[in-house]
């Protein structure tokens, strides 16, 4: 038998504490190289849909806030189209990148509430935002999803949420409305209320 020739993915290494230099240099104090940090603005003009502010903090297993984390999100527009797909809103990038505040650890995204997108079998997925978290001490970027606590009906029918065995953990994927279009989504890396992470 002949072997199947395939390459191995490059092994991940931690982003380390200074990822901001490469990803958000203006934020890190390396100014003048790029005019603006990439991913800073997701809404470029008159994008359709409900504008929301998404705030959160990443906590370690001792309950301490990470002050060196970087969070990226990828989401559909208000109509459920990803940037580049036919009919996607040209005024919305779908991709955002933010660092946690160097003192408090809190991150914030100014974005749109996403529309539903299809699952593989044509059923609809509840509105959600894909999230990727890196920091010192995280060896492989962590993947999770933000769903919306005020979309109960869509969440109940969501094909991914419905396959989660430990129902009591689903709340860790819910962004909670705080009024004025603000939502909170805290991420707990470890411990009692550990956020659900995905192997996708």
């Amino acid at each position: 038998m002949r072997a199947i020739e395939r390459l191995k993915e490059s092994p991940s290494q931690t982003a380390g504490p200074y990822i901001h230099i490469g990803a958000l240099p203006n934020f890190a104090g390396v100014e003048g190289v790029y005019p603006e940090d990439l991913g800073h603005r997701m809404i470029l003009g008159n994008a359709a849909g409900e504008r929301i502010t998404l705030r959160g903090t990443v906590y370690d297993g001792t309950g301490a806030a990470l002050r060196d984390a970087m969070v990226e999100i990828w989401q559909a527009d208000a109509a459920g189209k990803y940037a580049g797909q036919d009919g996607a809103d040209p005024a919305f990038t779908g991709w955002g990148r933010q660092a946690g505040d160097m003192e408090t650890g809190e991150f914030a995204f100014e974005t749109l509430k996403p529309g539903p997108v299809p699952f593989r079998d044509g059923r609809m997925q509840a509105p959600h935002i894909s999230v990727w978290i890196v920091a010192r001490g995280i060896n492989l970027g962590l993947q999770t999803r933000i769903y919306f606590a005020d979309e109960a009906e869509a969440n109940d029918a969501d094909p991914i949420l419905s396959r989660i065995e430990h129902r009591d953990r689903i709340g860790t994927l819910m962004a909670r409305p705080e009024g004025d279009g603000s939502y909170r989504f805290d991420i707990r890396l470890q411990g009692e209320a550990e956020t659900i992470f995905f192997d996708i």
Partner: protein
């Protein structure tokens, strides 16, 4: 919308349909570092203890932001000069890092955004929170970026970073390294890793390198000195290929020639 905003627009390659049998190859988690690697102490409180939950990839994981070359400035891939005030540029051994971004099937990944960051030749990072006693180089910022060409090729010009001590064990040092952040064509390919240098003895003492389970895996992150490509009287060339997850494809999706 200003012209600059237009340039910042992020677009995804059209036609991201999902064919039957499509989706990303499953990630081999035994090949990557585990989440909990106690010799790298910071991982202890930052590692999830529950198993991650798997599901088949969907349009959310199979699409991703694509970055167009017009967002790049002329010096973005030249770390010797992109922060420098002096015409000579940053201090340190001049190198070119070149390679390809490939997928697991060996196909070049075009249009991949590659972002790099590194310490200066003395091992010091330019960052608000960094306080190593080695001096900053006023002509070195430490960041660069480029987008792969149609074959997946990328290239940076920089100086070789220095090794530096870090608070972990009582006397731990990082080998000289360059951090790489890479976007493929889908969200599920997102990867951050580090590049090391051929022949550096510090590689084998480093607890962060040591999170990678196999020697073969570690060696895949070691850039090779390429003397044939090295530019006489200018800069040595290091060769470093990066592999992202591949994607299942079928003949129905990739029609054969003539069909």
């Amino acid at each position: 919308m200003s012209a600059f905003q237009q340039k910042q627009a992020v677009t995804q390659t059209p036609g991201g349909h999902v064919a039957p049998g499509g989706g990303l190859y499953a990630r081999d988690r035994t090949w990557h570092p585990a989440a909990l690697t106690p010799a790298y102490k910071t991982s202890v409180a930052r590692s999830p203890s529950r198993a991650p939950i798997s599901f088949p990839t969907t349009v959310s994981e199979e699409t991703g932001p694509v970055f167009t070359r017009d967002l790049l400035g002329p010096l973005d891939a030249d770390l010797i000069h992109n922060y420098a005030k002096s015409p000579e540029g940053a201090i340190g051994p001049r190198i070119v890092v070149q390679g390809r971004v490939l997928d697991e099937d060996g196909r070049g990944v075009p249009g991949a955004l590659v972002e790099v960051w590194q310490a200066n030749a003395g091992g010091r990072y330019r960052h608000k929170k960094e306080g190593y006693l080695a001096p900053l180089d006023p002509d070195f910022g430490g960041c660069g970026r480029c987008i792969t060409d149609e074959f997946g090729n990328y290239e940076f010009r920089t100086i070789q970073p220095g090794p530096y001590p870090w608070p972990n064990g009582p006397n731990d040092w990082r080998p000289a390294h360059i951090h790489f952040s890479v976007f493929g064509q889908s969200w599920g390919q997102r990867l951050i890793t580090q590049m090391y240098f051929d022949g550096d003895p510090m590689i084998w003492h480093c607890p962060i390198v040591g999170t990678i389970p196999s020697r073969e895996g570690i060696e895949s992150l070691v850039a090779r000195l390429d003397m044939a490509a090295t530019i006489p009287m200018d800069a040595r060339v290091y060769r470093f290929d990066i592999v992202l997850r591949g994607r299942r494809q079928t003949l129905f999706e990739n029609r054969m020639e003539g069909l």
